[in-house]
Symmetry: D3
Subunit: 249 residues, 6 copies
């Protein structure tokens, strides 16, 4: 069930049977010569949309702009500052908690978001802790590649050249969902270099075409379809487990 | 051309022929018994996506959460506080301006966003004004119903019962784009009441089912299709006019 | 009754018979070669001060610095950033609401303030909405030229050359109140150009002497006196109507 | 010369002969049974307005809302939070500095403002210090009772019962300027108690009618006139000395 | 009793017999050619640590970075902006208040902190005042040189050349506590100049070696020991008096 | 070399031979029935202080309050909100970067700090990225237990009952450094439970005495000494490697 294609009475009814909502979250940032700028928010959106076709889970709108300051040297990247990101996640969660959602699950598509999402969770919990009150909702972050079976599958599909940015697995997922938007290029080197992540100028100097450690030429729509199927099943399972968690009394 | 389905080299190439980007912006909020929660961000996304099929315009990701505090009494609404909204619009624009976009055009789907988007523009301009520097980009806000011909068409389609929230025109647009998500309900009264907008408790007390002045039963997918066609043509025209504007020397 | 010339027991007594307070709000910014820098905050202050001589309304101190970033290219302009403006309006209203004022009425003298005042209202309402509580007070913004009869009078007085900044109507109001501060100049062109408002450098490049569309030479103290009388009567009427509004139960 | 009754060309001309501007700053807060709510911002406004009649000094609009959180238990008090106050003083000073003012002089009427004005100055200087740049302007804070001769005069006028809040000296100044707004009451005790300042509930519990250590019955308009004359002369002298200060090279 | 060398059950037990906690606060900033960068936070830490050996007072961790923007021209200085400082003091106090501490006593070692600590107190009190609630704790700021007898002793020890920054008294205190870190230098001039404090570039231009009005050569560890003994005794006395204060009912 | 026991000329000289500074960072929070409240900031301070005795590394003051909102249910815990923490780390780094430090190394003692320190780094890098400028310094975070050999040693010392909060390894480090502050208690259960971390009320309900998964009774000063020696050696090695890193050109 997609929240944005539902009415408020439908959400009210859903809350009668579940208190959990899934928010796809990612980033809009360069993904090398052939990866889509939307890759990191499209992947969790694709997987969550697929999952809600078979599982009775509620998927909210996609939080599509994230922590991408290091990619600002490449056109098309849009980034929030961490302080803005924390404020925005806060307002999303306060809104959802206000309606009675007790479990808010972020399905993340960008490794660079992880730390600041956790900081945002801490900011939300701190409000309650300073007030000496229960928060009323629990927060969970899961990267889609950490859903059961996904990383193992990706390792089988891409034993070399997976890398950490503009990876063939994420590009494959978008190829499966948007076959008309598949791009090609010659990569030089075939597998991109690796290293640290700092400010945008430093990043562009280190990673000339934007990739980190990856060979995107390995991606195919078929592999993407396998990944989506595996991740969608894992998501339903993981969301159900989160829903079943009971708070201490 | 959709930014999120493009690569950074494609955006770099686009910047060689245009410095303008269109950002659909809206809100995720209750739209009465039958309107989709995503209506206000789906409408500009639908129109902009349609427009870029025929015009050489660049459409960015949708800014999908807006000024919806007054709807928080209805489940599924997600709102930012104005201060968060201003910060986020600021980061989007600073990112886009960094890449060389000189014209940033927000196609808006939520009347309640207008004031705070203007405030966000002012915050961005103020940075430059206090620094005594040129901003580097111009900002424009346009509500989709203000595009050429659209309001006149809506008035012809819905001479009575249009109202101001959960209107048949916006619902028709989503019906055209998402026919599988068309909902029905009995409305009582058929045309909703009108009045002021304040905090969420006040709003819910005034507008029992969430509508303001509207009769959504008048919406049809066909009328939606007419609106989208009119708006898409108007958008291309308006964006081109914005692109053609020359700054004073 | 002027709040700042009253004692706290007098305000306590006033609250026994009314819960409404009027705050003049404007901006301190250049108004062309002959307009006073204080024009936009003086006008609502003049009108509200006049109105409280005959009506039993309470007028607070003037909020005298507003949204003037675009005028920073002209000496004497003082501007807040929107974020500061929103914070300050918030503290004023929280203070007044704390005392039991249930209707806070801003009489505005600067068109450029409108959007950000509305954003400030939204920030205040959002506090209550996120908390699921009533706000306790209602907020209203009215530009003085929108009070009953005022715009029609101005149109009769200045059928051409009214413009939108450094207008003869606002200058006439200050001429009536501060006859010793009337200034003269030769205007070239007689009627200033019009166009968009962006950052300060852009503004100064477009509007060489600071005026927008206006011919201030048309102003006279007599016309100002007529405008003040009309506006003061309209203000009493409008404030009384606001006071009489009943919240939904 | 009053900035708000001047035009921008007049300020431009003034900047040709002086780089100093005086900003009256105070607070709008309860001043006991007979003191005006505006006392703390009216006093510096009165003194500065008087001073500029004889000295060639430029007086800006009055910053009329200050640090009055402890008085919020008394109706009519309006307070900023320190964070808002710091932001607003910052924007005033950045605006004035932008025009070329190199000396910004705050004539203060509220002891409770002192610490936070100093904090605001520090915030402004810190911007420059972190950037490794000159600030471009110097900031000075002076309480009007610290101008040459004023405190000695007040001690002669009010050898007992001066106190620290709702003092006869500040009330006398407003009596001189606003004789129509003189109020009377019976004070019990004649001289109010003294003690610490904390939050509003604590304050009201300690100081039943709002006064601290003072006997306002001692105030007369004549004494106020003497104080204003002494302070106005002292202000001109002090501003001229500030203007004459030379920065280290 | 040192809070950071205690366990939470020990603090719980302490709260059974006292509701007061002492926080040493200072700054990490240049102190001339021979003064330690930590001087301003080491002094209150040294004194409080000494005091808790004989008095049953609880001393928390040291707040070691303060208002030092003007010293940023000298290597090793670390400064917070006032807005950060206010936020941090706020969180410390909200944490301590949450545990039931009703008296929070800041023993300060840096004159430049005073205004902004007071602003931070005001921000904390304002939270309660706007909410119409009791704050729950009282805040007190005391500079260590203002403890009973200390200034008189310092005046006896250093009748000339004490100055206001990098003073022989504060350097003597650190010499007593850290004899291995005593430094020597030739001073030229022997007594440093005095003047105003503004941004860092201005400061460095005025005060070539960082001292203000002082002759640090006068410091000895023995004098430091005398100062610590006097201050530690004064601290116990002052804290006990603060603990004994009763709020108004 | 300890920055706070050095003078500014000594730091200036150090900058001639190294551009790297080490900042111990931790948290002041409950550590079970026997762990010191300061454990998490004492451990990195102890290790860094030890390391600088043999290696030519510069150790700054300790950042002693961190992300401890979940421990606020236990007396003595002091926490910053993430937004405050990010602001403060930012000011520390901007100060140090201003002096020419090009490598800022945070030696961390609290797992709960990791995400928000990374967010703070991102906020700092984003300033540069949005401005299109080099940041000027690189940031590194290392937990002391991740220094070479430390975790392996801890695993050998504590094959069972190490856990994740109030661990025997961190308690052993403080026992070695502060033998007079060793505490004892009976633990029930001997090994504490494990689970998620949310707001303070939830935490206290899950972890009755504050421990997570640990048996602190296993700690001894001797084991602590071994850990400190291993970590100090690892720190020198790691800092030297960081210093040797060359930025891309």
């Amino acid at each position: 069930m997609l929240l944005h294609l539902s009415t408020w009475p439908e959400i009210e009814a859903f809350l009668g049977r579940s208190k959990t909502v899934v928010i796809p979250i990612g980033s809009n940032e360069q993904h090398g010569p052939t990866g889509l700028l939307g890759t990191d928010w499209l992947c969790p959106e694709i997987i969550a949309t697929e999952a809600q076709k078979t599982g009775d889970i509620l998927v909210g709108p996609t939080f599509n702009i994230g922590m991408a300051q290091h990619h600002l040297g490449f056109p098309g990247t849009i980034s929030l500052r961490p302080s803005t990101f924390i404020a925005a996640i806060g307002d999303w969660c306060r809104s959802l908690g206000h309606h009675g959602f007790e479990k808010i699950y972020f399905l993340n598509g960008h490794g660079g978001n992880v730390a600041t999402i956790e900081a945002a969770f801490s900011e939300l919990y701190a409000e309650a802790s300073f007030a000496g009150k229960p928060r009323g909702f629990s927060l969970k972050l899961k990267n889609w590649w950490e859903l059961r079976g996904v990383l193992a599958l990706a390792n089988r599909q891409f034993p070399v050249g997976h890398g950490s940015h503009a990876t063939p697995s994420e590009i494959a997922v978008t190829q499966w969902a948007y076959p008309d938007a598949i791009k090609t290029a010659n990569y030089a080197p075939q597998i991109a270099p690796t290293g640290p992540i700092r400010e945008a100028l430093d990043f562009r100097a280190r990673y000339a075409d934007g990739r980190m450690g990856s060979d995107p030429a390995l991606a195919t729509p078929e592999k993407g379809g396998e990944l989506v199927a595996m991740a969608a099943a894992g998501l339903i399972e993981d969301v159900n487990a989160f829903s079943a968690e009971v708070a201490p009394s």
